[in-house]
Amino acid sequence: MTSRAAQDEELVRRFVAGDTDAFTELMAAHEDRVFAICMRMLRDREAALDAVQDTFIAVFRKAGRFSGRSAFSTWLYRVAVNTCYDSLRRQRRRPTVPLPEHSDPADSAGEDDFRSVEVRPDIAAALAELPAEFRAAVVLADLEDLPLQEVGDILGVPVGTVKSRVFRGRRLLAEALGNLSGGARLPRDETT
């Protein structure tokens, strides 16, 4: 068990036993990473903040159900990812176009000029084009650098499924970034 995991376990134990300081310590220790995950999943700061808020409220409510079979962080990130899925589902019902994190002034170039240059959307925009389950796998494995087994635990899928989602997610990401060389044509899998 890592030092962080051991600390978390002790904080959860203290919190469930009635030490409210422990919850604040848990939140302080994890809020940045939970925000990063939600921001990358949702690509909208307000939506991400809402998701982080909902995540910690859920954790506060359910702390007594945490069994310690997995690391606290695994459980926390699972709640966070599920909260983000909920948010994405709501976004689909009420579609909006989120502003990019750092938007540049509008380009006055005409359509022909636009077509003549390589379009390189930012990584956040490219991630947003991935199906949610692929995006979650790529975010957790490649951006948060979590072990595949832990990603599987968070997403509730076997490691093999995580590997497949990460692989295909990267492929879709590369396509979304528009950077593939002209001759490279990726074969398509029908399965998801």
Partner: protein, 292 residues
């Protein structure tokens, strides 16, 4: 089915192979245009991901976040009265009941703790009940909560199931108590004898329509907060639904061959729905009407 080795390509792109194996893999992949394209895509994506800067909370957002967590708890916890709409499960009541199990008295000091406008000094002196005490008080609270007149029958049915669950469980664990308590806090519709015909009718009823989903309490589908929530993942898989995106509704309680059951409906109004019956005591699967 791909014609190349995804694991090998991923390992090569991630730089996980020893130099000699990497060279051999490069040569083999170079001979296959499809594999080469996959390798290029993996490398492009990994390079872009590696260059991405992590989103960070700024100080204002951090303060807002902590304050809003405190404020939300302040709003949610006293709102114990359930307000069912149609057959939609009352997430707020479930969450509230679960929160109470952890310990309602924990909230006040936490709110102060998270409140950035001051008042921190009282926090370290706060005394909170143990989980066991909180759980017991919650069970008592739930049992004594008066039922609305038009929900009396449903509440009675729910209470019966809860009583069954409590009597069947010789030594309920804390998790069992949470589920049972949460269940008791929610007056569920009584669906009667769930024959095949009734299940077909239930699967044809429309659940989680968009109009209801506009509200936070009905839109917040937290599968794990449901009784038998951990087992529902199997039901999503067996009926072809996606636990990440498709809704689930606890439609009510009923009987199946004389056994009390919980009836879950998977899927929303835009698609076919499946009905799953599970025992409220063991969470074992009793029956399924698959989506069509």
């Amino acid at each position: 089915m791909t014609a190349f080795d995804e694991e090998l390509i991923a390992a090569l792109a991630e730089g996980r192979l020893p130099p000699d194996e990497a060279a051999a893999a490069e040569a083999r992949i170079a001979a296959d245009p499809a594999a080469s394209a996959e390798l290029e895509a993996q490398r492009i994506a990994l390079a872009a991901l590696a260059a991405a800067t992590p989103p960070m909370l700024d100080d204002l957002e951090r303060r807002r976040l902590r304050a809003s967590v405190a404020a939300q708890l302040d709003v949610v916890l006293p709102a114990a009265a359930p307000s069912r709409r149609r057959f939609t499960f009352n997430w707020a009541a479930i969450a509230t009941a679960a929160a109470v199990l952890v310990g309602v008295v924990l909230v006040a000091p936490l709110l102060s703790l998270l409140n950035t406008s001051g008042g921190d000094d009282t926090l370290s002196q706060a005394q909170a009940p143990t989980t066991q005490e909180a759980g017991e008080s919650d069970l008592l609270f739930s049992a004594s909560e008066p039922a609305a007149a038009d929900e009396g029958e449903a509440e009675s049915a729910a209470t019966t199931v809860v009583a069954d669950a409590l009597s069947a469980a010789e030594a309920p664990t804390a998790e069992d108590r949470t589920l049972i308590t949460a269940f008791a806090a929610q007056p569920l519709p009584e669906l009667g004898e769930l024959t095949e015909e009734a299940l077909v009718a239930l699967s044809a009823a429309r659940f989680q329509d968009d109009g209801l989903a506009e509200t936070e309490e009905t839109d917040k589908v937290d599968v794990e907060a449901l009784p038998c929530g951990e087992r529902l993942a199997e039901d999503f898989a067996s009926t072809g639904f996606d636990i990440a995106t498709d809704p689930v509704t606890l439609a009510g309680t009923g009987t199946r061959d004389g056994e009390r059951v919980l009836a879950f409906v998977l899927g929303g109004p835009d698609a076919a729905q499946a009905v799953v019956l599970r025992s409220p005591v063991t969470c074992d699967l009793v029956a399924t009407i698959p989506a069509r």
